[in-house]
């Protein structure tokens, strides 16, 4: 301590270089002369904290200097000299880089004060805020930051002003998105000249995910840094839709959502037509043209990013449209194509499925505004086609575990060759590669024939010539040649056995190629990266997530991230032990979620055998209409729906083609898998349809009546009197669909369903309420 009190000006520690340093620092400080006082205050606090001096010692030194100068030791003179000494001491003890960091910290604090003031003042325009953010971010990032605690208020204010006001979103985003990130984002926000707006949920979800994976401040994972990207993205705020509706006198569309569903359905095609005929104001079209000129001729995807969409708990999966455009050729053509695509996406706000979804989730009164996320499509041109080497959806919680070895918590991929659209939607007899991330190469099929059967045979591509999304047979694409990534994507048949190419230059027998991604999964970091990404995102969101991704040219692109409604497997459910055997209506050995659904009053039963025997496509589709009608009639009742094969499939041979609005009131959706229907190992999980079920708290049940030990009382379901006519006296009779009034048939008992995902056991039985 004694040493510190010693006068600084002694011959041992005084160097001419210190004078140079002090002079340079002073010159630097003079650039921000109004901040000199604040800087010195900071410098002194640093020197004191590091125990290099104390306030008293420095004042004593100042007095000595004045004494040497023969000047009176007045308060003013002392303050001036002490200030100079602080600069000198600071320049002597602190590295040049650190000096710069401290100067910048003071500058940042000032810019931050301006920003805070602006955010707290009523009616500050976006341009002014944008300018203030710009100024803040123009100061070099350096090694010293305003503490998260200090900056939180402004972060939240900025996030809710430009991205989303949703509280669950803000709760996560405020911890991961720094002001600098927002600056990066704002660079890419395209604003309407008349109307303000935010960038919406999908854009927000993607950006947030990116920042959780690669934070602007703090530790970055070197592997993520090397491989993970987001596609070049542009955000058109919700102001464009509002402005479009205003300028075409279409504001009445906002009340469309309050009409009844039948009217909404009837009027929708008319609305689409009206929107397509309407036009954007000329200045906006000019803005689009400028944008397209800047982007160049690269294929784009126009995605909805509504303010409600993709917010925590509500995925809106597949409710709004996304449109691919080739964006090739003449700028007039490109502009026209772009505006048509925008209109199509905007129109989907008024679609019956979107409105119904909102109604079911009590979101109808929210003033839904659509913003648009425009992304460069990830991929490469191969002939006339454009697509990525691999794409798909990744889930942090794996529900597709065919052996207990697979760890559900390590996630699952549904991966396809080409555009990821094929992995997102449920696509009949075509299969994405399902990858359990705890054991990426494990698959439930063994043998070439079985693997081939459950593999991808069709590829979604963007045809740049016709500017449309095409589905082409994988075999045709492979045989056309010129696809460098086949080494990673396929296995070929070698003497009756499927094996991936052994080395990159191996000539691939395209005639026998089958998409397996074996080399992609074993020879690139993609599986490991996605596993860690999912883990980190789930941790940040505090709930399971799903991520759309694409892999191309050795880079992993995050296209979208949603936090799922399911809070993971529920607490263990104990199945009741002493159920009288004659009361058991079904058992199952494959359970996705633990849950208990009590007191089911009605069962709607689609006769599995009779459905299998329906000869015509039309008759199968008719079943959908009957089920949909009953669903509406049973709104508010506890009912369960039982039917053959896979619900929601697009292939009526595989199960009942149905969509969410036809089943949204059921509590339990049971799939009866029979071999005659081509029972497949892939459950509904991982499709938009499945997400709908989870969010709506509809419990999926898979029953395999043909497997040993399974109870399935078809006699009960077919034997009870049919209550359809009583329920729907005016509806058309249908021999395939039956309605069972459970208490009426069983002397006041109800169907009780218990499912335990831990033991993979489930049971449905009759019991009193």
């Amino acid at each position: 301590m004694e040493q510190k009190e010693k006068p600084y000006f002694s011959s041992e520690n005084m160097r001419p270089a210190d004078l140079v340093r002090a002079y340079r620092l002073h010159e630097r400080m003079l650039k921000y002369s109004h901040l000199i006082g604040e800087m010195r205050e900071l410098f002194l606090s640093v020197l004191c904290r590091r125990e290099l001096t104390s306030e008293k010692a420095i004042r004593d030194d100042g007095a000595r200097v004045l004494d040497e100068l023969g000047e009176p030791v007045g308060e003013r003179g002392l303050e001036e000299v002490t200030g100079m000494l602080i600069d000198l001491y600071f320049a002597h003890h602190i590295s040049r880089e650190d000096v710069e960091n401290h100067v910048n910290l003071v500058r940042k604090r000032e810019a931050f004060r301006t920003l805070t003031k602006l955010m707290n003042s009523e009616g500050a325009g976006a341009t002014r805020i944008r300018k203030a953010v710009r100024e803040f971010c123009a100061i070099p990032k350096g090694g010293l930051h305003i503490s998260p605690g200090e900056s939180m208020g402004v972060r939240v204010a900025l996030l809710s002003r430009f991205i989303s006001e949703q509280l669950p979103f803000l709760g996560v985003a405020k911890n991961h998105i720094a002001i600098r990130d927002l600056d990066e984002l704002m660079e890419r926000i395209i604003r309407n000249p008349r109307r303000e707006g935010r960038i919406g949920g999908k854009a927000a979800g993607m950006f947030l995910a990116y920042k959780i994976i690669l934070p602007a401040l703090g530790q970055r994972d070197p592997e993520f840094e090397k491989y993970v990207r987001i596609p070049e993205s542009f955000y058109f705020t919700s102001g464009f839709l509002t402005d479009f509706l205003d300028s075409n006198d279409l504001f009445w569309l906002h009340s469309q959502k309050y009409k009844n569903l039948e009217t909404i359905e009837e009027e929708f095609s008319q609305i689409c037509e009206t929107i397509q005929k309407a036009s954007f104001p000329p200045d906006v079209v000019a803005q689009f043209r400028d944008f397209l000129n800047k982007v160049g001729e690269h294929p784009l995807i126009i995605r909805s990013s509504s303010l409600l969409e993709d917010n925590v708990g509500f995925t809106f999966s597949g409710k709004y449209d996304s449109v691919f455009i080739a964006n090739q050729g003449d700028i007039d053509l490109r502009t026209a194509e772009f505006t048509d695509a925008l209109k199509q996406v905007l129109a989907s706000v008024f679609s019956p499925r979107a409105i119904l979804y909102r109604k079911d989730h009590n979101l109808l009164d929210f003033d839904e505004r659509m913003s648009i996320l425009v992304q460069k499509v990830v991929g490469m041109r191969h002939g006339d086609y454009f697509f990525p080497a691999a794409a798909g959806v990744a889930y942090s919680l794996n529900m597709y575990a065919w052996t207990p070895r697979i760890l559900r918590s390590e996630g699952l991929l549904r991966m396809v060759f080409g555009l990821g659209t094929r992995a997102v939607d449920r696509i009949g007899p075509d299969y994405p590669r399902m990858v359990p991330l705890s054991h990426p190469l494990l698959r439930p099929e063994v043998g070439a024939e079985e693997i081939r059967k459950y593999s991808q045979k069709l590829v979604d591509v963007l045809d740049l010539e016709s500017s449309s999304l095409l589905t082409v047979p994988a075999a045709d694409l492979f045989q056309a040649g010129g696809l460098p990534d086949l080494y990673y994507a396929v296995s070929t048949e070698k003497e009756g056995h499927l094996a991936p190419p052994l080395f990159k230059t191996e000539k691939i027998d395209t005639a026998s190629a089958c998409v397996t991604f074996d080399n992609l999964l074993s020879k690139t970091p993609v599986a490991g990266l996605l596993k860690r990404i999912l883990h980190r995102l789930e941790e940040a969101h505090g709930r399971p997530v799903e991520v759309e991704f694409a892999w191309d040219d050795g880079m992993l692109y995050l296209l979208q991230c949603r936090a799922l409604a399911a809070g993971g497997p529920a607490a263990k459910v104990s199945l009741p032990e002493s159920i009288e055997p004659q009361k058991v209506l079904f058992t199952c050995d494959s359970v996705l979620f633990s849950s208990v659904v009590k007191d089911i009053e009605y069962v709607v039963y689609v006769d599995t055998k009779a459905y299998g025997e329906i000869a015509t496509f039309e008759d199968r589709i008719a079943v959908r209409h009957v089920v949909g009608r009953i669903n509406r009639l049973l709104a508010g009742k506890h009912y369960a729906l039982f039917g053959p094969g896979r619900w929601g499939t697009n292939d009526v041979m595989m199960g009942v083609k149905i969509s969410y609005e036809d089943i949204n009131h059921t509590r339990v959706l049971a799939e009866i898998a029979v071999r005659a229907m081509g029972a497949s190992p892939e459950p509904s999980f991982g499709t938009h349809f499945f997400n709908d079920l989870v969010e709506a708290n509809i419990v999926p049940v898979a029953i395999y009546p043909e497997s040993a030990g399974t109870v399935f009382r078809e006699d009960f379901f077919l034997g009870c009197p049919d209550a359809l006519a009583a329920l729907d006296p005016h509806g058309p009779p249908n021999p395939i669909v039956r309605v069972i009034d459970v208490p009426a048939c069983t002397g006041g008992q109800y169907l009780q369903v218990y499912l335990d995902s831990e033991s993979q056991k489930g049971v449905g039985f009759l019991g009193l309420s």
Partner: protein, 417 residues
């Protein structure tokens, strides 16, 4: 028959009993043929990827080696039992004998679920199996091959492990290896090709003209697709229908086999093939065709549908497609049933060729494989047909008589009985 009472080995023994009676075998020979001559049961500890160790139970059975070293596949199946392996080892003995290969019969099995094993775990399991069996397999003792859920890659690991143990090059210890490690050309379509050759012989004997005659393939997998292609190419048959698990297609005017194979590989199913009507797996059996190839599953031709069959020749490429009751009905209807262990013996014959080429360290061109296979299958059919005429029995029973007589003869010559 209830599932829990079903014992494949008991059935195999019944078949021997029937043949022994017809051949009037002495009791000792009969009894000898009813039992495997050597059984080995081992427990294999295998390190899993997560560091844990799992135990696997495995078997290898040499049923009878009077005619030569045992030959037979290694099955990896979760429900594998000693009795299944015994029965299959017995059938391998008759199969090698019916095509007159200088080999005996054997089979192996590992109780495991390949759906739960990673590639590295499969490799460790394959190597562990060979380490446990190294003393009893070898080119002069017992030669394993691929079977249910085992692949050429697994054979390659097994061969490598064996060669490491003995410190010598012994490619012939395993057949069904990848071509690059001493596999034989022509293995890919060997089963279907053998079936097509015996069909040709049967038609010639029966005086049937196959040129342009209709054929149907039930089960359009590897064997079925090759049967369609080779039936067209070698026999001049016209494919009119084919089916798989998702249904079938039919066009009486003919379907190009190559186009249908292409369609199946692209779409995963024969269904949806243009210019053909749809039909079910059941309907395909009743079509008016000259040759029917049941190529997929067991028990598809049963007492309840055998009456519907209109084919002249039924070439069983699948194992056990016809039940015994249906066999009798088909016999009465005059349908020529080419029994499975003769009709699908092309596979084991080419495996034998692989052993021969490995021993010579000299490899044949594809044409030579085809030519030798043709000769073997033709001779086999001739012997079986002759036996059937002599004893007035159907071809299936005749095939049993031929093979069991050959094995019995070898046992006697050795002085065992």
């Amino acid at each position: 028959m209830k599932a829990e009472q079903f014992n494949p080995f008991a059935i195999a023994q019944q078949q021997i009993d029937q043949a022994a009676e017809k051949l009037e075998l002495d009791d000792a020979t009969h009894e000898l043929l009813r039992w495997p001559m050597r059984e080995l049961k081992v427990t294999l500890p295998v390190k899993m990827d997560d560091g844990s160790t799992r135990l696997f139970h495995a078997f290898r059975i040499r049923y009878n080696t009077a005619r030569g070293p045992a030959k037979g596949g290694v099955r990896w199946h979760p429900l594998e039992t000693m009795d299944t392996v015994r029965a299959l080892a017995a059938w391998m003995t008759w199969k090698t004998a019916v095509v007159d290969l200088p080999l005996g019969g054997g089979k192996g099995g590992v109780v495991c679920n390949p759906k739960e094993l990673s590639e590295t775990e499969k490799e460790r399991l394959a190597r562990a199996y060979v380490r446990a069996m190294a003393g009893s397999i070898g080119v002069t003792k017992d030669v394993p091959a691929p079977d249910v859920y085992t692949t050429p890659q697994i054979m390659a690991w097994m061969m490598d492990e064996y060669e490491t143990i003995v410190g010598e090059n012994h490619p012939g210890v395993i057949t069904g290896k990848p071509l690059a490690l001493g596999g034989s050309k022509g293995r890919q379509d060997a089963t279907a090709r053998g079936g097509v050759y015996v069909t040709r012989e049967a038609a010639a004997v029966a005086g049937l003209d196959l040129k342009g005659a209709p054929m149907a393939v039930q089960g359009f997998g590897n064997a079925g697709m090759n049967a369609a292609l080779l039936g067209e190419e070698i026999l001049g048959l016209k494919l009119v229908a084919a089916s798989d698990s998702k249904g079938g297609v039919y066009n009486p005017r003919g379907i190009s086999a190559a186009a249908l194979v292409d369609h199946k590989l692209k779409s995963g199913a024969v269904k949806g093939f243009p210019e053909a009507d749809e039909l079910t797996n059941e309907e395909i059996l009743g079509l008016p065709v000259t040759v029917l190839f049941p190529s997929a599953l067991e028990n598809v031709i049963r007492a309840d549908n055998a009456q519907n069959l209109q084919c002249k020749i039924c070439c069983e490429l699948a194992n056990g497609p016809t039940t015994p009751d249906a066999d009798r009905i088909l016999d009465e209807k005059g349908v020529i049933v080419l029994p499975d262990f003769l009709a699908n013996a092309g596979g084991v014959t080419v495996s034998y060729f692989e052993q021969v080429q490995n021993a010579y360290n000299l490899y044949w061109e594809l044409q030579e494989v085809h030519w030798r296979l043709d000769k073997r299958m033709t001779q086999a059919y001739e012997a079986v047909h002759e036996m059937s005429v002599q004893n007035k029995v159907d071809l299936r029973e005749a095939a049993y008589l031929v093979s069991i007589a050959r094995v019995a003869e070898a046992c006697k010559l050795r002085g065992w009985v």
